[in-house]
Structure formats: structure tokens, C-alpha cells
């Protein structure tokens, strides 16, 4: 197992910009590799979305990993776009994985990466 700090190059932001442009759908191989790492955690504590109003509002939650204990909503904003919720979870995981903070949303969204 490689050192977690070396699994993702925290200075390469082009896959991140690609994700910001299209969180769900066609992804490059580079972005898929990053996503595979960020999503490879155990069930316990894994981020999920909690739908507060169908097609309208989502919050961030964490899966307990324990049978019989429901996911719990965690502090954070209520999203009116599921894509924004995806970006938020990506940011949390990126920062936990690499130890580096990502630039602000508008900065990441400002530079189109294409696919």
C-alpha cells in the first residue's frame, strides 16, 4: 500500500477542474483515477447525501458502517443542486487525502478543463 500522501498529486488541479465542470457523467481516465482513490474508503464514516426534499435539497451525511445505525447528517450547507453537493464532498475528501486545501469554487469553476 502506497503512502496516502503520494496517491494523489495535490498540485495537479486539472482533474479537479474537470470535476467542477461535470461532477457526474463523462470523466477522463485521470479524473477517474482520482475519484477511485477518493471514493475508496471503508463504509464506516463514508460521506453520503441526505435528501431533504426530493429534487430540491440535499445535505451531507456520513454512513455509520454499523448495521442498524442510520447515516447521520453532518454540519454543512444545504445544497439545492446535487452537483454542488458532489463538489463539496470531493473537496472534503481531497483535503483529507492530500492535506492540501482546494481553491475556492469560483476559481475552480473559472477555468474550463474539458474532457
Amino acid at each position: 500500500m502506497r503512502n496516502a500522501a503520494t496517491r494523489i498529486d495535490p498540485l495537479r488541479l486539472d482533474p479537479v477542474r474537470e470535476f467542477w465542470e461535470r461532477p457526474i457523467g463523462h470523466h477522463s481516465a485521470e479524473l477517474e483515477t482520482v475519484l477511485s482513490i477518493l471514493r475508496s474508503g471503508k463504509v464506516a464514516g463514508k460521506y453520503c447525501l441526505i435528501c431533504l426534499r426530493p429534487h430540491a435539497e440535499w445535505a451531507i451525511g456520513r454512513i455509520s458502517g454499523v448495521r442498524g445505525i442510520a447515516p447521520v447528517r453532518v454540519d454543512g450547507p444545504v445544497f439545492t443542486s446535487i452537483e454542488d453537493a458532489e463538489r463539496y464532498v470531493f473537496r472534503l475528501r481531497w483535503e483529507a487525502e492530500t492535506g492540501y486545501a482546494l481553491p475556492a469554487d469560483d476559481v475552480l469553476a473559472g477555468e474550463s478543463a474539458g474532457t
Binding site: I24, G25, A29, E32, P54
Partner: protein
């Protein structure tokens, strides 16, 4: 959390038949109930909108009471004279614990909870075998060996009690040997107990009576085999769990015929201690399958009382209906189908509502339990109120994709319990993006479409098809399958083939259909069994257990059983992804004269680049032709999907070897096909689960709805 939950005694009724609804008002608060007809169960604001219709003269106000669920299986031997007088005894049982570290698991009990009289042979919290004795007058002793047992290994447990002397003895013997491991031994205890009190207790294997009638506690997880009970030196009973596989009966070979019954459907047709790997079918060597696998979370029937009943009016149109219960804060729907009267309603179209497939996914917990779920659909799973309730209430049982608490696969699924994902409005993580629908709510896209087009359609459930066979399809010119009709019993399969081969027309609207073989419970409707042989899915069937307990058929994929879906409807499962859907591109076959009717009024090369399920008509699970699996040589491949995401991966049964870049080069796409059949009918298949989600686009006026209508009109009037 939800405060209203319900289920019904039936999933299909004919006009004039009653249906009984069992509802739990979790806070014992009053609620209103009504019957509605479901048309569009999709709340997506991008679509035509949720649509239900109230059925007149069918509403109730109910006081409401909480009805709990008590899961956990066991075998119950009713009280009998030979058991009542038991004082001194010897019992022997073969035991294969699957959660040996868990406390308070009962192997066998003859116990009266109210007086604490009798005995309980159990295993206890990693301490191995234990024996509790009670004289019913306050005298009680517990003997525990303190010898941890290995999970999933066979042991023989034996207990002796001599009432006059109070001497007790307990032995744990392993049927395996590992050097350096001490997991067997024996202990003696001189107890003050001098008898087991007044008899009358019921003998229970894998649990103990909990006091209230029909209630049990201390459920055992694992397999038990060949319990033998002696009393005062004479044989009381010797139970052969290899007899009666596929039934709820437990057979006693002893002199008193102390036969019993199973509670909450433990697994049978599983290997016992003597399985030697030379037979793979319990019918050929029942002695090697003389074990029953009990689970503390088995649930076959919640057993709730009826809260209200309704009799469908004789003139009620066939369709999908639901009992809707509301209390001001919460609501629940209990869906059911009103099938046509015997012989049909006169409609020339029947839609098979795939209730067996609904059961297969009933209360599915994959995204909660499996870390891979997020990877499978390439976005973060979103949970709604029903998911959160299911997550906190495992007593409602899982799906055929889930595992029991002990990690063994759930092989049976019952509708005699609330099924929180078989609901209108329910959004599933399996449903991709957009409407996020899977199974029942997704199938209402078809119902809404047909209703808006004014096309009369009878709804027939899988249970009807299984029970009545081909006769139930005989009145129809065309039979339509739903978005994901995946699970088929042999009788269902036979019926569809007979319909096709006798001149019927089939519109196979979804994908990954006709995939897994199931069996229905031989006696009790609404319970199905699957064995996930060879390829698995969520779990895989253990060696030697490929044969269904219900009926004794070999289980697995229909493809492995010689009836690949390609041979029935032209296409079969090729791969899946659960993020976004894509579109089809027409192929040269679509321009042949014999296909002209399908594309009448369609000028587009690209089909279905829109939709409520992932934004395209080709998505979620996809089918394609495969001549080697039986696609008829006269099949026209009309269109093929393309440009799927990297998340669309080939199905595992097509992977004969792994190699780098496999996903990039695999041909995962949907194929839309048409072929004429020798019987005079024809088959049209879309090859995609998402197809129906594109019907509503642009007010139901688009190339997907046009193609569907063109085929439907031809099929309905083909043989007139």
C-alpha cells in the same frame, strides 16, 4: 423516521376480490387511508408530474397502533406428552456457528420463560457451549465451558442432566482438528437443581420461548443438524433436518413423531457436516444436506394484524393501485395490482408487472452496507427518508442482494413485510441521475404513457404468471415486459415462451430481463428464492448449494441453464453503469423495408438523447445481441447505443479473463432489435432499462415514444 408502514396480504387481486392491509402506526397515532390508482409515480419536476387518481368509496379513518416486527428464525416442536414430563435428559446437536462471538444464542431449549423451568443449551459470547437449568421454583444453574468456537466449523454439543442427583455435564467436541487450538472439552457440575419443573414447555431449536405466544429470543446464527433428545434413557426425538427441505416442516424420526415447524424461514437445502463434495443436489443425498441455517434476522412474515380491507369493485379497470395512508406528518403507499377478470378485460395488451423482481430488490441495503456502491454508480449515494428508516430498522429484512448479520447471503425475499423501496415517489441510488427511479416507480412511466395514449392495458403480475401459466397471457395480442424484469421462475419463463411461440407479440421494454432463475415458495405466495451460483451478485452461493430448496431446481443465471435471454427476446445483459444514460444511433437494419413501420415518422439518426433516467434512453443496465447465446439469425439490429461513460462496465459472466484496459475496450452498449417468430408473432426489444424514462419527454412526443407506439400499434393489430 417514518411513522407509517404497511403491507398487504396480496399483490394481485381480480375485480371483486378483497385485499387486507396491515399497517403499523409507529406512534400509535390515528391515520387516514384511501385507495388510489397509480399512473406516474415520478415526482421529478422535469417530467410530466406525479399522477395518481383517488378511487371513490374507498377511504377509512383508523385509530392506529404500533405493530412491531420480530425477526429471527427457529424450529418449534409443539408441546407433547413426551416433552412435558422430561426431567433427566441427554441432548446432542451438531452445530456450525456463524457468529460464535455473539452472546446469548440458543441451540435448543425446553424452557418456560415465565417460571424459568427447563433447559437451554446455547453458546455464549465467545465462551462456547453453555447449559442453563431451571427447576421452576427459583433454582437455576448455568454451566459454561469457556471454550471459544471457530466460526463456520462443525461441532457436536452434548448436554446431560440427571435430575435425582442434580449432576450436569456439558461437552463440546470439534469435528475438525487444528494443532495447538483447544476448542473442545467437557465440564461437570453438581447442581442444586433436582428437576426441570412442571412440564408443558415447547421444544425450540435455535431460539427459546420469550414468554408471549409466538415470540422467541436468543436466536442462533448458523447451522444446526441432527438434534437427538433422550429422556430418562429413552429416545424422545431425533430430528432429521434433511427431510422436508423446501417446506416449513421439521421431521422427527423418533417414536413419538414430534414433528415441528419452522418460524421465519431459515435456509434449507444447505450443506451439513457430512457434505463430501461428491454431490451438489440435496435431492440426491439429503443426508449430506441435513442442516438448517438459522439467522437472527430472518423475516418471512411480519405477521401484523389487518387494519382495513377493501374489495375491488367488479368493474374496476386493471392497473396499478395502492393503499395510501397518511397521518399529517408522514405517508406510506402499499402498492398492488388489480389484474383483469379471468379471460382478460378485452384489452389486447398486457403489461407484466415484475413483482418477483420487486421482491428481489425489496429493502435493498447495498449503498448502506457496501463501500463499492458509490464506485458502481460513480456519484455519492443520496438517501431519502425511506432509506434512513431502513438503515435504522434492520428488522424489516433485506433484499436478495444483501447479506444476513452473519455475512451469509439472503436467499429468500417475502412481501409479507413493509417494503420501503417498492413505493411510488421513491428514489433509488440505482436509478442513475434525474428521476432516480428503479423498478416499480420506473415502471409507471410505461403505465402513464399507455394511459395518455388511450391504449387499454391489463396488468398481470409475476405471481399471476407463475400461478396461471400461459393461459393468463392467451387473451392478448401483445405482452409488454417492464423496465427490469430480471427474476423469472421456470413457469413464468415457460409461459412467456409459449405465448411467443403460439403467435404472441412481445415488447421487451427494459433490460437485463430473464436473467436469474427463482422459485416461489411451494405453498405460501409472495416468497421467492434465488441461488446466486457461479457469478454471484452482492454475495455468491456457497459450494454445493446451487439447488433451490423450493422445488429442487438448479438455480443461477438462465444463461447458464441453457435459456439465455438472447434466445427469447434477442438480447441479453451485457453491462451496466448507474451514472448518466446515453443515446442510440440507427443502424442499417433500421432502413430495411420490414423495419419501416417501426420508424414511421422518425427522421432522426440519433434516438433518445433525452430522458428522465440519466438524460438518455440507453442507460442503467444494457442488453445486446449475441448469436452464440441464441439471438435468432433473422434479428434486425435497429440501433445501438454509444458514448457511454467509463462507468459502463461489462457484466462479470462475460469476463473469462482480466486484462488491463478491459473496460475501455469492452462492447458495453444497448442494441434495439426486432425479429419475426415462427409462430407468427414478433419480438421488439429496447435493450435498455432507461428507455421508458424517455417516453415522457416533450409531452410524450419524441422519437422514443414514436417508435414505441409504432411497434405497439403494429403488434396490437397484427393478427386482426
Amino acid at each position: 423516521m417514518k411513522t407509517l408502514l404497511g403491507y398487504a396480504d396480496k399483490i394481485s387481486i381480480a375485480p371483486g376480490e378483497p385485499i387486507a392491509f396491515k399497517v403499523s402506526s409507529e406512534e400509535s397515532a390515528p391515520y387516514d387511508a384511501s385507495i388510489v390508482r397509480l399512473f406516474n409515480a415520478d415526482t421529478n419536476p422535469a417530467g410530466p408530474g406525479y399522477r395518481e387518481q383517488i378511487v371513490p368509496d374507498a377511504s377509512w379513518q383508523i385509530a392506529g397502533r404500533r405493530q412491531p416486527v420480530y425477526p429471527g428464525s427457529c424450529a418449534v416442536i409443539p408441546a407433547a406428552a413426551a416433552l412435558r414430563g422430561l426431567q433427566s435428559f441427554h441432548i446432542s446437536v451438531l452445530v456450525w456457528p456463524s457468529l460464535p462471538e455473539q452472546a446469548d444464542q440458543v441451540i435448543a431449549s425446553l424452557w418456560r420463560a415465565e417460571s424459568e423451568a427447563g433447559f437451554i443449551l446455547g453458546i455464549d459470547g465467545g465462551q462456547g457451549a453453555s447449559l442453563r437449568l431451571g427447576d421452576g421454583a427459583g433454582g437455576s444453574e448455568i454451566l459454561c465451558l469457556g471454550l471459544p468456537m471457530l466460526a463456520r466449523h462443525w461441532y457436536r454439543l452434548e448436554a446431560w442432566f440427571d435430575a435425582p442427583s442434580g449432576r450436569a455435564r456439558l461437552r463440546q467436541q470439534t469435528l475438525h482438528r487444528y494443532p495447538g487450538l483447544s476448542d473442545e472439552g467437557e465440564a461437570h457440575l453438581a447442581t442444586a437443581v433436582r428437576g426441570l419443573g412442571a412440564g408443558g414447555g415447547t421444544l425450540v431449536f435455535a431460539a427459546r420461548p420469550a414468554g408471549a405466544p409466538g415470540r422467541f429470543a436468543g436466536h442462533f446464527n448458523g447451522r444446526l443438524e441432527a438434534p437427538v433428545l433422550h429422556g430418562g434413557g429413552a429416545l424422545v426425538g431425533a430430528w432429521d433436518f434433511g427431510a422436508g427441505i423446501g417446506t416449513d416442516m421439521v421431521h422427527d424420526t423418533g417414536p413419538h413423531a414430534l414433528h415441528g415447524r419452522l418460524v421465519q424461514g431459515p435456509a434449507r437445502g444447505v450443506t451439513g457436516h457430512a457434505w463430501d463434495g461428491t454431490v451438489f443436489d440435496w435431492q440426491r443425498a439429503p443426508a449430506q444436506y441435513a442442516a438448517i441455517h438459522f439467522h437472527q434476522d430472518d423475516l418471512e412474515d411480519a405477521g401484523w394484524d389487518t387494519e382495513f380491507t377493501w374489495t375491488a369493485p367488479a368493474d374496476l379497470p386493471s392497473g396499478m393501485y395502492a393503499a395510501c395512508v397518511r397521518n399529517g406528518l408522514d405517508e406510506d403507499y402499499v402498492p398492488f395490482v388489480v389484474r383483469p377478470p379471468a379471460g382478460g378485460s378485452g384489452a389486447r395488451l398486457a403489461l407484466i408487472i415484475p413483482t418477483a423482481s420487486y421482491l428481489a430488490y425489496a429493502n435493498e441495503h447495498l449503498a448502506l452496507d457496501a463501500a463499492l456502491a458509490e464506485r458502481v454508480h460513480d456519484h455519492v449515494p443520496a438517501f431519502g427518508p425511506n432509506d434512513l428508516h431502513l438503515a435504522a430498522h434492520r428488522e424489516l429484512g433485506g433484499s436478495l442482494y444483501d447479506v444476513h448479520d452473519d455475512g451469509s447471503g439472503i436467499m429468500t425475499s417475502s412481501r409479507h413485510r413493509p417494503i420501503l423501496n417498492m413505493r411510488p415517489k421513491y428514489q433509488s441510488w440505482l436509478g442513475g441521475t434525474g428521476s432516480c427511479l428503479w423498478q416499480l416507480p420506473a415502471d409507471t412511466h410505461l403505465l402513464d404513457f399507455l394511459d395518455r395514449q388511450g391504449i387499454a392495458c391489463d396488468c398481470i403480475t409475476d405471481e399471476d404468471l407463475h400461478a396461471q401459466g400461459a393461459a393468463v397471457l392467451a387473451p392478448y395480442a401483445c405482452v409488454m415486459t417492464a423496465t427490469h424484469a430480471e427474476y423469472w421462475s421456470t413457469r413464468m419463463h415457460d409461459a412467456l415462451l409459449a405465448f411467443r411461440d403460439s403467435g404472441g407479440n412481445i415488447m421487451h421494454m427494459g433490460a437485463n430481463g430473464l436473467y436469474w432463475r427463482i422459485s416461489f415458495h411451494p405453498v405460501r405466495p409472495g416468497i421467492i428464492e434465488v441461488r446466486r451460483c457461479e457469478v454471484g451478485n452482492g454475495w455468491i452461493t456457497p459450494p454445493g448449494e446451487a439447488v433451490h430448496a423450493y422445488g429442487g431446481e438448479l438455480g443461477g443465471l438462465w444463461r447458464r441453464l441453457g435459456r439465455a435471454p438472447q434466445a427469447v427476446v434477442g438480447v441479453g445483459f451485457v453491462g451496466q453503469g448507474f451514472d448518466v444514460s446515453s443515446y442510440y444511433r440507427r443502424l442499417p437494419d433500421s432502413y430495411r423495408p420490414e423495419a419501416a413501420f417501426i420508424f414511421e415518422g422518425v427522421r432522426d439518426e440519433i434516438l433518445g438523447d433525452f430522458g428522465l433516467i440519466g438524460g438518455g434512453a440507453a442507460g442503467l443496465e444494457l442488453d445486446r445481441t449475441e448469436p452464440s447465446l441464441g439471438t435468432p439469425p433473422n434479428t434486425l439490429v435497429l440501433a445501438r447505443s454509444e458514448n457511454h461513460t467509463r462507468n459502463y462496465l461489462p457484466t462479470v459472466e462475460d469476463l473469462l479473463i482480466n486484462y488491463a484496459g478491459q473496460a475501455e475496450t469492452s462492447a458495453v452498449h444497448a442494441e434495439m432489435v426486432y425479429f419475426d417468430c415462427a409462430g407468427g408473432g414478433a419480438v421488439f426489444a429496447t435493450g435498455s432499462i432507461a428507455w421508458a424514462g424517455s417516453l415522457p419527454y416533450n409531452g410524450y412526443d419524441n422519437n422514443v415514444s414514436r417508435i414505441t407506439l409504432n411497434v405497439l400499434r403494429r403488434f396490437l393489430h397484427r393478427n386482426e
